[in-house]
């Protein structure tokens, strides 16, 4: 018998030959080492190629499963809950965005209308002293004078002083503490519900209004290492006139104090201060203080009120409300696989339903601090 053609031998290799032909070719192979070699070489070649495949980690599949399910589920839900979308958006404005008690390790991207600043390999954790705010009331009660706070004040502060105003501190501030290297130990795990809810709300509602100092948040804007950052001057250290006192806090507890030179390039610890209009933020926090939206232990409690509720509650004029909305910053947290945390996903679902079409691994290990109004634009540009 002449040697079978290549196609026939491959069909034999694939087990696809009909019985009669199979017997015929098999008989030939007994006496033809050339055909056997061909089959063997092809078999080995294909096997080595097949076995060379490296399957990715299971974790990646789990992440993808989560994404697809969320996406599918969201779309089906959306059909039924479109009328409630506005309500969801509103509710989300009172929902905690980020930050459990563990420090976030990864890139921190600060987005603003002035551009984008990356802080690589930093650790970010929300810090604040909101309990004191509530205790002290909307107007702030610490009533420290400027001279007691820090010797070197911002121009805004000076303007206020020039106008004869009284600068008061509420000894509160919503801070992002970005520390290169070691983070302070976590504060008490047993924080009470009020603190927890405040931590939630203040991480969501950040009204950035550097020009409004109601209740007297004192902030110095300084260009430090890594970009523009605000430094809080609390007067907690006796500093030279050319220096600014600073305090790094975590969960309301001061973890580090000291002084640094203004405009210094050698700053290892930076506190990004997002100053709020204290009155309005306090109001929002008051609304939120009765609930703890992202505290699972309290998930049966009512969610915080919407910004519309907030508006009615305080009877804010429309232009003020527009301004407020435009200046609300939200934080979007993404893990190492680029997956948003649960609060971030909720926010994105409601504000930008198609976010998963645009999101990418560019956001892995990242916290985005971004104006609420810019979310859609941000993702659409990806």
């Amino acid at each position: 018998m002449n040697c079978p053609d290549f196609d026939t031998l491959m069909m034999l290799l694939d087990g696809e030959l009909e019985e009669e032909k199979l017997n015929e070719v098999s008989a030939h192979l007994v006496s033809c080492c050339r055909c056997r070699d061909l089959i063997d070489s092809q078999k080995n070649l294909e096997a080595s190629w097949r076995d060379s495949f490296v399957t990715p980690d299971t974790d990646k599949f789990r992440s993808m499963e989560w994404i697809i399910y969320r996406r599918m589920n969201r779309r089906s839900r959306w059909k039924f809950f479109v009328p409630a979308a506005a309500g969801i958006i509103a509710v989300l404005l009172g929902v905690k965005l980020i930050m459990d008690n563990q420090p976030f390790k990864g890139r921190v991207t600060e987005l603003s209308r002035d551009g984008r600043t990356e802080y690589a390999s930093y650790t970010l954790r929300l810090v604040e002293e909101t309990d004191e705010l509530l205790d002290s009331g909307i107007d702030g009660t610490d009533n420290e004078t400027v001279s007691e706070i820090a010797p070197d004040q911002t121009s805004v502060d000076r303007d206020i002083l020039a106008e004869g105003g009284t600068l008061e501190t509420t000894s509160r501030m919503d801070n992002y503490s970005i520390t290169d290297g070691e983070m302070p130990e976590s504060a008490s795990e047993e924080e009470d519900a009020g603190e927890s809810s405040l931590r939630c709300i203040s991480s969501l509602v950040q009204e950035i209004d550097q020009q409004t100092i109601v209740g007297g948040v004192v902030t110095e804007s300084v260009s430090g290492a890594g970009g523009s950052a605000g430094f809080s001057g609390y007067g907690i250290e006796e500093c030279e006139e050319t220096e600014i006192a600073f305090e790094t806090t975590f969960m309301g507890d001061a973890v580090e104090t000291g002084c640094f030179e203004e405009q210094t390039d050698d700053i290892s610890d930076i506190t990004l201060s997002l100053d709020a209009d204290t009155t309005e933020l306090a109001a929002a926090q008051t609304v939120a203080s009765s609930v703890s939206p992202c505290d699972e232990s309290q998930d049966n409690r009512a969610l915080p009120q919407s910004i519309e509720y907030y508006s009615r509650f305080h009877d804010l004029p429309d232009h003020k409300m527009d301004s407020l909305k435009a200046n609300i910053y939200v934080e979007l947290v993404f893990d190492a696989d680029g997956q948003p945390d649960s609060c971030t996903a909720l926010i994105l679902d409601s504000l930008f339903p198609d976010w998963s079409d645009y999101i990418s691994l560019e956001y892995s290990d990242t916290v985005l601090v971004i104006p609420l109004a810019d979310i859609q634009q941000l993702f659409s540009e990806m």
């Binding site: 087990g15 190629w49 495949f53 399957t55 990646k60 499963e65």
Partner: protein
């Protein structure tokens, strides 16, 4: 409801994949998870073999499952689910390849394989290349196949589907499967040249 009736009429109620798909479509998280985990690696593997990079393969995998869920109403239950998901996957991969071709991209990994393969051929001082070199050359040769040939080759060699399963997956005739597979193999052997030794 209509789908359920149709499934009963076609006797597909006993098909666990279809039941899972239906439940998943209705938001059943466990059903979706079970279905996804059953096919995730196979789909990814086909996607990865068909395209040039892990990133593309992840995209294709995600799109394949999403499309499967979305197009469930159009799913012909006379086919097995895995052949359907393979069809979606290969079609997506072919579309990716077309887009990529238009962009004239050369992926790093392909370039690597090209370089390695070329180096192997140029350095063909031995009758047979080392296993590693041969594998690089095979990968390069597979990547050079047209998407249609590659799809058949991947489903047969990597997924070890039978000819009829490949025909069902790609919605082509059995004879077409055989001819494409043989052409793919012949082209690969041609690319490898003397690395495989003489035969023909």
């Amino acid at each position: 409801m209509l789908l359920s009736v149709l499934l009963m009429m076609t006797g597909e109620e006993d098909n666990p994949d279809i039941q899972l798909l239906r439940k998943a479509k209705n938001g059943d998280r466990d059903a979706f998870g079970e279905l996804f985990r059953k096919y995730e690696k196979r789909v990814f593997r086909v996607a990865r073999r068909m395209c040039g990079s892990d990133d593309e393969a992840w995209d294709i995998t995600q799109d394949a499952f999403i499309r499967a869920m979305q197009a469930m109403d159009r799913y012909d239950t006379q086919y097995r689910f895995f052949t359907w998901i393979y069809r979606i996957t290969t079609n997506l991969a072919i579309n990716y390849a077309k887009k990529k071709s238009r962009r004239r991209e050369v992926h790093f990994e392909e370039a690597y394989y090209c370089a390695e393969g070329q180096q192997v051929i140029e350095d063909n001082v031995a009758d047979r290349a080392s296993g590693e070199q041969l594998l690089g050359a095979v990968s390069k040769a597979v990547n050079k196949l047209t998407p249609a040939l590659k799809a058949v080759f991947v489903l047969r060699i990597d997924q070890q589907l039978s000819y009829s399963e490949i025909a069902e997956s790609l919605d082509i005739a059995l004879g077409t499967v055989m001819s494409r597979l043989n052409r793919a193999r012949a082209k690969i052997r041609e690319e490898l040249g003397s690395m495989l030794g003489e035969w023909e």
